[in-house]
C-alpha cells in the first residue's frame, strides 16, 4: 500500500475506537460508519429512543461586523432579515449560474454576528467562497471549525433524557431555534436541529468539552450512531446530501428546495434562479418507490422510461422505517405522481419504480411555526 495522507480526527476519535467502531474515510476524516450493533440497530435507536452522533467534522464559520447580516443576506438563498435573533435557517449558497456551492445552516446570533455551519466535505471550498463574496462588505469571516466540537442527540426521547442536566428550558427552544446555555455544566450552543427526521438537539461546545459531554450522554442512555445510520435516517426523511442530491450542477429549484429560496431579494445566483423559474424546470428531484423485486437502487444508477435514459439516482436504499425499497433521483419535470420509470440497478437489469410523495418516512421532528 502506498503512503497515504493522514486522516483528520475529531476530538471524539479515541471514544469511537474505545467503542469498537468501524471507521471510514469521510471527506478526509476518520469517522465511525457504525458501532458494534450495526447500522440497522443504530437507525432503530434513533427512530425509537435516542441516538448520539459525533458531527465535529462539520465546519463552523463566523461572520462578524457591521454588515454581518447584510452580507449573509447576499450570500445565501433564504431570507435572513425575517429571522429573529436565536433563530436558524437551512439555506444554500449558489454560484452565479444557480449551481449549489453547499447547503448550510445560518445561526442569527445578533445584528453583528452570524454563525454558518457547513458540510465537512466542503469546508475549504466554502471558506474560500465566503471570503471572496465578503470582499466588498464590512465583515470579518473566520473559520473556527478547529475550536468547536459538535454532538447531535437525536430521537423522540432526546428532550426527556437531558432536560434535568440543561441550564435552559428545552421545551422553550422551538424547532430551528437555539440558546446559549449549559448542558451538564458545559457551555454550549444548544439548537433544536438535526439531520434525522426525529426531534433532537445539536450541541456546539469547545473541543475540550467534547469527551465529557459525549460520555455523559452515553451514561444517560443515548446509543452511539455512526455515519451509516445517519445517511439512512436523512434519506428516509428526504434531506439533501451534498454530492448526491445537490451539487454544483444542480439548482435549489431542481432539488425541490424552493421553500429555502427567496427570489424577492438580491443574492448570488438570484438572476439565474429567477430565469429558471420563468422558463420552467426541465428536471426535478423526485421520490421513487421500487415496485418489483430485483435489487437496490444506488447513487448514479440510470433511470429509464420506455427504453430511453431519462435521469439518474442520487441516493437509494431499503428503507427500514417505510418497509420499502426507495430512491431519490432526477427525472424530467413532466413526470407526475404515480408515473412509472425503470431503474438500472445492474448492467442489463432494470427494475420498475413509481413516483411517490416525500418524505419516505415522517418521524418525531417538530415543524416550524408559521
Amino acid at each position: 500500500m502506498s503512503g497515504s495522507v493522514e486522516l483528520k480526527c475529531t476530538p471524539l476519535h479515541a471514544e469511537h475506537i474505545r467503542l469498537k467502531a468501524k471507521m471510514v474515510d469521510f471527506g478526509g476524516w476518520d469517522m465511525p460508519i457504525q458501532y458494534t450493533e450495526g447500522i440497522l440497530a443504530e437507525h432503530k435507536n434513533v427512530r425509537e429512543s435516542v441516538g448520539l452522533f459525533d458531527v465535529s467534522h462539520m465546519g463552523e464559520i463566523t461572520v462578524k461586523g457591521e454588515q454581518a447580516l447584510d452580507f449573509c443576506e447576499h450570500l445565501v438563498t433564504n431570507s435572513i432579515e425575517k429571522m429573529k435573533f436565536g433563530e436558524i435557517c437551512y439555506t444554500l449558497m449558489c454560484m452565479e449560474n444557480g449551481g449549489i456551492v453547499d447547503d448550510l445552516l445560518v445561526y442569527k446570533i445578533d445584528n453583528k454576528y452570524a454563525l454558518l455551519v457547513v458540510n465537512a466535505s466542503n469546508l475549504e471550498k466554502d471558506f474560500e467562497w465566503i471570503k471572496k463574496q465578503a470582499e466588498n462588505f464590512n465583515v470579518e469571516v473566520v473559520n473556527v471549525s478547529d475550536e468547536y466540537a459538535q454532538i447531535a442527540l437525536q430521537g423522540p426521547g432526546s428532550e426527556e433524557m437531558i432536560k434535568d442536566i440543561c441550564g435552559v428550558v428545552l421545551e422553550n427552544i422551538e424547532f430551528y431555534h437555539f440558546e446559549m446555555g449549559r448542558i451538564n455544566g458545559i457551555q454550549a450552543i444548544i439548537s433544536r436541529t438535526g439531520y434525522t427526521g426525529e426531534d433532537g438537539f445539536e450541541f456546539y461546545v469547545q473541543k475540550d468539552a467534547a469527551i465529557p459531554l459525549w460520555r455523559k450522554l452515553l451514561e444517560l442512555g443515548a446509543k452511539p450512531a455512526g455515519l451509516g445510520s445517519r445517511d439512512l435516517l436523512r434519506f428516509e426523511a428526504c434531506y439533501m446530501l451534498y454530492g448526491n442530491e445537490i451539487t454544483e450542477n444542480t439548482t435549489p429549484l431542481e432539488a425541490g428546495l424552493k421553500w429555502a429560496v427567496n427570489l424577492e431579494k438580491e443574492f448570488v445566483g438570484k438572476s439565474s434562479l429567477s430565469e429558471q423559474k420563468e422558463k420552467g424546470l426541465t428536471r426535478k428531484l423526485r421520490a421513487l418507490e421500487v415496485t418489483e423485486k430485483g435489487g437496490i437502487p444506488r447513487h448514479n444508477n440510470k433511470i429509464y422510461s420506455e427504453d430511453k435514459e431519462i435521469g439518474f439516482v442520487t441516493t437509494g436504499n431499503k428503507s427500514p422505517s417505510a418497509g420499502k425499497v426507495v430512491a431519490l433521483g432526477y427525472i424530467p419535470s413532466t413526470f407526475k405522481l404515480g408515473n412509472e420509470v425503470e431503474i438500472e440497478v445492474r448492467p442489463n437489469k432494470r427494475i420498475k419504480a413509481k413516483v411517490v410523495r416525500t418524505p419516505f418516512y415522517r418521524g418525531s421532528v417538530k415543524s416550524k411555526k408559521k
Binding site: 460508519i33 447500522i39 451509516g228 435489487g295 444506488r298 431499503k318 425499497v325
Partner: protein, 122 residues
Amino acid sequence: MKKYTKSHEWVELDGTVAIIGITDHAQEKLGDIVYVDLPEEGAEISKGDTLCSVESVKAASDVFSPVSGKVEKTNEALEDAPETINSSAEADGWIVRIEVSDTAELDTLLSEEEYKKVCEEE
C-alpha cells in the same frame, strides 16, 4: 466438512449437492444485509461465475460460485429475512444448493485453516 474460497464463500457437500453461502467473516465486513438476489432454479453455473448478489445497507457484493453445476434449490427464506445471513452465515444463511458436475473441483478449495490465514492476512 466445509471448504472455502479466497472470495469468502463456503461450500459443503451433501452427497452430490454443494450447499453454498458466504462466510461469517464476509457478513461481518458487509454489515447489515438487506437484500439477496437469488439465482434461478435450474440455472447452469460454471465455477467462478457470479452466482448472485448480496446487498448490504452500504453496498452490493457479488457471490462467486466455487463449483460448476446446476442450481437445485435457493434459500427462499432469505427473500423475507436477508438478515439471516448476518446471524447465521454458515448455517441457516445458506444461499444455494448446486447439483455438482465434478466434485473434484472442491479439492482445490481452501481448508478452514487455510481460509483463516487468508482472513488474517487481509
